[in-house]
Amino acid sequence: MRGGYMGKILRVNLTHGTAHSEPTDPEMARDFIGGRGFVQKILYDEVPVGANPLGPDNKVVVAPGPLSGVFMPSSGKVQFGAKSPATGIMGDANMGGHFSVEIKYAGYDAIILEGMGNRPSVVVIDDDKVEIVDGSKYWGKGSSVAEKMIKDDLGEDFQIAIIGPAGENMVNIACVSHDYGRQAGRCGIGAVMGSKKVKAIAVRGSQSVPLADPEKVLEYGKKMFYGCFEKPGFREWTPLGTPGVTPWVNEVGAFPTKNFSTTYFDDHEEIGGEALKERIWLTDKGCFCCPTPCGKYSRTTVGKKSAYVEGPEYETVALLGGNCMLSTIEEVAYANYVCDELGLDTISGGNVIGFALECAERGIITEEQIGRSVKWGDIDSFVYLAEKIARREGIGDILADGVKVASEKFGQGSERFAIHIKGLEWSGYEARWAPAMMLAYMTCDIGAHHNRAWAITYDVAKGRESTEGKAAKVIELQRIRPSFDLLGCCRLQWVEIGFEFDYYPVMFEAVTGRKITEKELYDATDRVWNLTRTRAFLELPDFSRASDYPPARFYEEPIPTGPAKGKLIKKEQLDEMLDDYYELRGWDENGTPTRETLEELGLETCIHDLERAKIL
């Protein structure tokens, strides 16, 4: 390993209060590259099958990638992973900011939190010096309040990953926060940190990332920046950031509205990028080395309440705005602030609260159970429910487990509109009239998440009725997009402004000294993809093809209003796409990876484990 890797992995044991570092395994670096590859490989190898997600056997793995911290556009993504309390399978989430690069500068390719502490703690990493310090005074505090306290205590140059009260209370939809408004939101990683009593990880480093060819990195890094500047999208996309897409998603009838009952929100202009920029925006905030800052720092005022908040980004606009029907950007931003402080993932949070509002409207849960009357589009109802969930109080204790568990407990047909796959709540693209996007959600390895394959533009471009060719496109995207997660950089320049992917393998070589082809990079993503899939079969006895279907609302109820009125993808179409997908992936008709596929990828361990579990 010549460059890109720091050569060490930090292992922190909360049970014993110890920490030590180990050499990074060069074979793991070769086959899994880094970032999410390291996260999933370490989880697969080290967390025993059947481990309680909130018990001492689960681990939290945090990993930047080989390109994190390098001079090139947006090289600051970090991956968090653990066995998810929400889904029971391996989960991960990523965030930007400056946490990723600081881990590299401190000298590590990954941090593993294992065991379980019995007192609130903060893991303080200052290069080689690692301490587990008492975190009692920060416990119970909101994410950004506690982050500021820790920075005041340790120093401004520490980068902090922190949980809010939701994580402390082991809420299944709890996120990890950083830099006053960046979140690794999905899969309840915050709850796993909370179970270990780790309020925060604070990191500071003073070591440069080793570079195989520093001159080439400088020259090529500049070329990459200049390449971004020249894209027309650079000037067009950046000012509004991700919420800029809101009108388009409504026009194409894909905006989650009223708990995914329909796909067009009448007030979308009041909550989109333009409204944000005109009414609440203060300044742009960029992640490490980002030329297209999507962080829109804002100040919002609702009634007598006022707050500074980063965002809301598109997913938050969709799930708190459309899905809970908050109809002004001020309210959406305020709700965003409340979720951030409590440490709730806004995607899952918007789902759970939308689900609760629908249950209340249908009389499935009563005013007495909830503790007050709640209604759509009411900020006070939203804040009330969010706080109940984060503190696991009353009805919030049930909702805190996510829509899957809550709908099983509420019954009465609520499963139909509990919008999730595999226990992970749906993110911001309603896919009833977007077959490729639907398939992307169905097959995403952590549950209903958009980031592995944002295929809706393909549906809109190539025809939204047909299922033809959709599986191949979804797989193509599931190879390109996760490549960024392995490399430790952000995909938004590629997605949003059309920056070419060809740059990345070249930069990878300049940094690491290892020549890599796009094909080899995609093979590494396939390796991770089959590893997580295998693990799902091992973890859950009833995991099968059936686990890949969306809730019944999505193939039985045509879209009732808006531009996509009357549209629906039928169950047979879902089946066709899944058949295509499994075949192209080299999986059997139940979605199990075949021996040949696993052999080709060098995943002999997976073959062995599946055989032992009598699945293969």
Partner: protein, 154 residues
């Protein structure tokens, strides 16, 4: 001849400038080694890039007890690493609280990327317009800087 200007309200705190600078000058990807740095002291949104003002009468040079910093006629100072005794007097003397030391204890002196064809790396990389390189109006005597940086600028 360039001067650097800062428009702090446009800074997004991304640290591209710091990283570009550290790579250009030290061959390292480590923002802490940048001759430019962003002050995050106000926490949330107030990012303030700190640059060398290229003083006419640089206090850093005047404060150096061993002559490791030499005032240049066009403003600013030239650093002679061999003479430096790592005392930090220059840092205390900087009236703008700009100057800082590397991990090795030597001052990180901005040379405005003298001799680089595309100008100061920090400004070229900042498309937000928070750091702008402007042509200095008066012709500058560049003899000493050229001599000092002769090798590095080939």
């Amino acid at each position: 001849m360039f001067r650097l200007k800062v428009a702090a309200d446009k800074c997004t705190g991304c640290r591209s400038c710091e990283t570009a600078c550290s790579l250009a000058h030290e061959g390292a990807c480590l923002p802490d080694l940048g001759r430019i740095w962003i002050d995050f002291a106000d926490h949330d949104t107030k990012f303030s890039p700190k640059i060398c003002r290229q003083c006419r009468r640089p206090r850093c040079a005047a404060a150096c007890p061993v002559g490791a910093l030499e005032a240049l006629p066009e403003g600013g100072a030239r650093f002679i690493v061999e003479k430096c005794v790592e005392c930090g007097s220059c840092v205390s003397a900087c009236p703008f609280h700009y100057l800082r030391l590397s991990h090795d204890g030597v001052p990180l002196i901005c040379d405005l990327c003298y001799g680089r064809p595309d100008g100061p790396a920090c400004a070229r990389i900042c498309q937000e317009g928070a750091i702008i390189a402007v042509e200095s109006p008066e012709p500058a005597e560049q003899g000493k800087r050229t001599e000092a940086k002769g090798d590095a600028n080939q």
